[in-house]
């Protein structure tokens, strides 16, 4: 097996190609490319992918947009990085469908069995087009919210939320835990549930074999001597709802227990208020964004998708918890990136703060098992906003523990079937971990056969 990491911090097409041409003289012929592009090459990404296809026409390829990457040299939030592999035990599959179930069932069939680790790439929220996003707003206001307001009983409200949730799932959101539930088998899976820090129309972009697949899912499968690790920076969960609440109250500041009306992936009310009203009542600075403003920000790639104010839902199945950032979106129902049906109706509202800061993220590397391996790790991109230039500490820690590596700063990774070393708070269903912040994952590759 031969593995090489090539990166370029340049952003203009000519500079990128010139830099890559100089670096792509590898001395071997890769049969697989794993490409991570940053937002800075957005305008030329199609040309860059075509260039790579011309350069390696016989190689299989998977790729997506991330916020940044870390190599042995340094970390960059610009340009692109890629892993080039010459080995048998690596393959890529992709599938699309009308909804979560169809997409991931198809993908599972294509992937089959016998793999030792899978990286699953899919858009958690897909911002298709101006028209499509406009449609959410119109549907939300005219169709669903009027029905919701007229509903007399809780059951009626939940029925409207279910309809709204189904609409979201069919066009925009792949609920992360639902996707992993479908894909899960004995193979460890790392989920790259993409959600850009700043969204634009057409994002997130995912590639399979040099094609942009739109709203679909890609599985990069590895077979051989590999080890998959999942880590979260949060404390361990409790054995009951009350215990987990107590643990979280001790860990996060100013935690408040709230009542949530929710169904599927839609939140209708928080403490009897619309989610945007609730957020405004708690944080005066968070005024709801106007629809036109949201559309303009999406046009420019500037619609922020992260928030320090969150709801933490507690799972009925494991008493684990998953965090959802609350944003002043111009919609009456707040969308969720994970299926809320398995969670209690009481949840916790607080402003995020991680104890011990960035050091906790570095614990991922302490769980490494293999020497002389190539390591690909994924770190929650919220670290960029939370820690700024201090994210270089993650890179320097990686340099101490890993011989060869590529790290990517992308959406908070999820996991299915990965052995855990603690009663992970983010384990929201048996063997399924997801949280809207604080997670990281790694795949150690010693040999692919």
């Amino acid at each position: 097996m031969r593995v090489e990491v090539v990166h370029t911090p340049f952003t203009e097409y000519g500079d990128v190609v010139r830099d890559l041409e100089a670096k792509l003289d590898l001395g071997f012929e890769p049969n697989f490319l794993f490409v991570f592009l940053t937002e800075s090459v957005w305008k030329d990404h199609n040309k860059i992918i075509k260039f790579l296809q011309r350069k390696f026409p016989n190689a299989k390829m998977a790729g997506c947009f991330v916020e940044g990457y870390a190599t042995a040299e340094c970390a960059w939030m610009r340009g692109l990085a890629m892993i080039l592999i010459e080995a048998e035990g690596v393959d890529v599959f992709w599938a699309k469908g009308r909804n979560t179930a169809e997409t991931f069932r198809r993908l599972k069939e294509k992937v089959g069995t016998g793999w030792d680790s899978i990286i699953l790439i899919f858009p958690a929220f897909y911002f298709q087009s101006r028209f499509d996003v406009l449609k959410i707003g119109i549907n939300d206001r005219i169709h669903y919210y009027l029905k919701y307001k007229r509903a007399r009983t809780l059951e009626d409200k939940l029925r409207v939320l279910r309809e709204y949730s189904n609409m979201l799932e069919s066009r925009y959101i792949y609920p992360v835990n639902k996707a992993l539930r479908i894909m899960a088998n004995e193979t460890p899976i790392i989920g790259m549930n993409l959600m850009p820090l700043e969204a634009r129309f057409g994002t997130p972009v995912i590639f399979a074999n040099y094609e942009c697949i739109g709203r679909g899912a890609v599985a990069v499968c590895f077979k051989g001597k590999v080890n998959t690790i999942f880590h979260d920076v949060l404390p361990e969960r409790g054995n009951s709802f009350d215990e987990t609440v107590e643990i979280m109250k001790n860990y996060f500041p100013n935690v408040e227990l709230v009542d949530v009306v929710k169904k599927g992936i839609a939140i209708g009310e928080i403490n009897g208020l619309r989610p945007v009203e609730f957020l405004e009542s708690k944080v005066r600075a968070y005024k709801p964004i106007e629809q036109n403003e949201a559309l303009n920000r999406l046009e420019k790639g500037r619609l922020q998708t992260v928030s320090p104010y969150v709801l933490a839902f507690i799972s009925r199945e494991t008493f684990g918890s998953s965090i959802l950032g609350l944003l002043p979106y111009p919609v009456n129902f707040h969308p969720s990136l994970f299926d809320l049906d398995i969670f209690y109706d009481k949840s916790l509202f607080f402003g995020e703060l991680f104890k011990d800061g960035i050091k906790r993220f570095c614990e991922l590397f302490e769980r490494k098992k293999m020497d002389s391996s190539f390591d690909l790790f994924i770190v929650d991109h919220n670290t960029i906003m939370m820690f700024g230039k201090r994210i270089h500490k993650i890179t320097s820690f990686a340099r101490e523990r890993c011989e060869r590596f590529l790290g990517v700063f992308s959406s908070y990774p999820s996991a299915a079937g990965i052995p855990l070393n603690k009663k992970s708070l983010t384990e929201i269903e048996p063997k399924i971990c997801f949280s809207g912040t604080g997670t990281s994952a790694m795949i150690e590759i010693r040999d692919l056969i």
């Binding site: 203009e12 916020e67 939030m77 610009r78 700024g388 230039k389």
Partner: protein
């Protein structure tokens, strides 16, 4: 060495939100300047910088500051100490993604530190 420093700074210079990069010596002498495109509006800022740079550098080094930042209408001036004798100054648009830019600037500073 200046040529190598110039190459290290190249990725940042190509950022559309960065108008100018200047590497200052501790005595306020600019040893390297890279401009993205001809822009007369930053002349005023450069003139201001020329008068203030010694004071700014004094504060960075004597108060051990991580960085220093000034805002002028639609541009930001950010100063980052590279070493005990060098300061990297960026003139950027106010709507730049600063959290990402700062991570990249740190990469550049690390590379320059290795070089010197």
């Amino acid at each position: 060495m200046l040529l190598e420093m110039s190459e290290i700074l190249e990725p940042i210079t190509s950022d559309p939100s960065v108008r100018m990069i200047v590497l200052y010596r501790i005595d306020g002498t600019p040893i390297l300047a890279k401009i993205r495109k001809r822009d007369l509006t930053i002349l005023g800022i450069l003139y201001w910088l020329e008068n203030q740079i010694r004071d700014a550098l004094y504060h960075i080094f004597n108060k051990d500051l991580d960085d220093l930042s000034f805002k002028f209408r639609d541009v930001l001036v950010k100063m980052y100490p590279v070493s005990r004798t060098l300061v990297l100054t960026l003139i950027v648009d106010e709507n730049a993604s600063l959290y990402k830019l700062e991570a990249d600037v740190e990469s550049v500073c690390m590379k320059i530190r290795e070089l010197i």
